[in-house]
Symmetry: C2
Subunit: 99 residues, 2 copies
């Protein structure tokens, strides 16, 4: 399987409402994108200094699953309308994990 992990930092003017709207729409994706084997996302808990602001961790079966998720029209829509307006930096990795 493949684990897709992304961390984001937000622009300084990002509002809690924008983050809530992002989380709400991300929460709809597992029911819309069958390729998602598991899906976790959320704001940083502020336990450590220097952290980023938000993360998404998805598990997909294979490379085709990664494409099915990342390129899904509803995922692309959430990225364009809820992520891009507030994100300063993004750091993503797809890594192989044991089945």
């Amino acid at each position: 399987m493949i684990m897709h992990a992304v961390t984001f930092t937000f622009r300084p003017d990002t509002t809690p409402e924008q983050v809530r709207a992002l989380a709400k729409e991300l929460g709809t994706l597992p029911s819309l994108i069958p390729a998602l084997r598991s899906y976790h996302f959320g704001a940083d808990l502020r336990l450590r200094d220097g952290n980023a602001d938000f993360a998404v961790v998805a598990v997909l079966a294979d490379e085709e699953g990664v494409r099915a998720y990342l390129d899904h029209p509803e995922h692309v829509r959430v990225v364009e309308t809820r992520v891009k307006p507030i994100v300063a930096t993004r750091s993503a990795v797809q890594m192989a994990i044991a089945d």
Copy 2:
């Protein structure tokens, strides 16, 4: 529970041997750190442009578990000897996830 997700970029002179040594030592941590409920790590598969180079995703029970992992002497040793010599940037998030 808390999911701890970190992405790293490596310095340009990082060798495959250094990455293998890092992965080998990370692989010993679950047996040494009982707080780790699950532990995944690995190099980016190069499926997408602009990705980071390596990620670690750990699940801990709670904030105490996060500390038990991050501050564990063996984890600290691996960070000091295997991570810091090769890492250019690090982006971490701890987020709440459903039990």
